[in-house]
Symmetry: C2
Subunit: 211 residues, 2 copies
DNA sequence: GGAATGCCGTACCGTACGTTACGGTTCGGC
DNA sequence: GCCGAACCGTAACGTACGGTACGGCATTCC
């Protein structure tokens, strides 16, 4: 019922964190009874606060999304080094997010829910994941274009190529249960590689094939 | 119990097709009773043939995989035009597969199963999807390198970049329920773009940043 | 022709889980 | 000190579904 738009109370946040931890640890044992036990609250309270199971899950997704979105990025820059750093930072952040156990569990849940029709968790996850990062990266790309550092017709197309170069097969493999440990070093290296490749494709100083 | 390695009988194939159709149409209503009704067989037969629910699902995944794997590709080529065509063909095939309702439903199922531990459908899907196409593309890439058309240290790394340029955000968006219609024209265009970008990054005649 | 086998349809069983109900406890306001 | 509200813990209910059992029918084998 609540948590539709308003901020959840501290106690409710604790409950949602319990859902997240349970989701990560137990995977599919995400039963209302288990949540109540983990959060040390009664099922009656869960239903009073969140309406039903889907409401609880939706609130959990939103709660985690709000937490991830906390990361901020500075305004568009001008020289190529700053642009590269900015892109690399985005790439590293994105890789860190999608390889985190929380993200994996959350996406699995949302994808499972997308199979049925009700309560599109998938939409919420997309809105706060893939689309949110796209919206945040767009001004960077367009500033790069205005500064004569990048060349592209459509920023969305350019972003999607960047997205592909960064993520490659990582997310789908993790979601399907592949063991794919991404350490900090590996993420940094992959982020740098993806950024260099993107600049090779869309940078003004290099060859620039059109999309 | 059966269908572990041997080919399923015609009647069993009909059952597995029923599972697939039900999976695509109903999403999560994939109950044993529903399968039996759709396939006009008894539940007893289902359990006799496939052991339990997971066995049925595993057999279904294998059955669909065998069908997809039917597509064959000619041996490595030598000139740049043939290489480009070959890559473009792979890209278009891959996009067609991942955007098909069957693939979406199957991957959703496998991802949901990956949350729990038992019976890794995820492994089977990975093995017959992502990894199978990688193995098939590798000789093409290596032939291209030997012919002096491509430059890369590790064919796996090169392939993963190609994979990212082709798929981008398509699969995760579809899995999360985003409406993203990929027509034949769009697939052809995307495949061509991804191939050109890949060749720009790894082709010998262009700039070749190292991975 | 009769027995056996394979399979369909359906009824049945046990369990897990979402949801509700209720008794007991804590706590803020008067 | 008393009242009501909020909430915890747990019991109880209804249902959905995986899995099993059984009666009937068709086909095949002797």
């Amino acid at each position: 019922m609540a948590a539709e738009t308003e901020e959840p109370t501290a106690r409710q946040q604790a409950v949602l964190d319990a859902v997240l931890s349970l989701m990560v640890e137990e995977g599919d044992k995400l039963t209302m009874t288990a949540v109540a036990r983990r959060a040390s609250c009664s099922k009656e309270t869960l239903y009073k606060w969140f309406g039903d199971r889907d409401g609880l899950l939706a609130a959990t997704v939103r709660w985690q999304a709000a937490r991830v979105r906390a990361g901020r990025y500075d305004r568009p820059t001008l020289d190529i080094a700053a642009l590269r750093d900015s892109l690399k930072g985005f790439a590293a952040t994105w890789l860190t997010v999608i390889s985190s156990p929380t993200s994996i569990a959350l996406n699995r849940l949302a994808i499972g829910h997308a199979a049925s029709r009700k309560s599109n968790l998938g939409g919420i996850v997309l809105e706060n994941g893939r689309f949110a990062i796209g919206e945040r990266l767009r001004p960077v790309l367009e500033a790069g274009r205005e500064a004569g550092l990048l060349a592209f017709d459509d920023s969305e197309t350019a972003f999607r190529s960047f997205f592909g170069l960064v993520g490659r097969d990582v997310q789908i493999r993790l979601l399907l249960g592949d063991i794919l440990s991404l350490g900090r070093d590996e993420i940094e290296r992959d982020a740098a590689r993806a950024t260099d490749q993107f600049l090779a494709l869309y940078g003004r100083t290099e060859s620039a094939p059109e999309a």
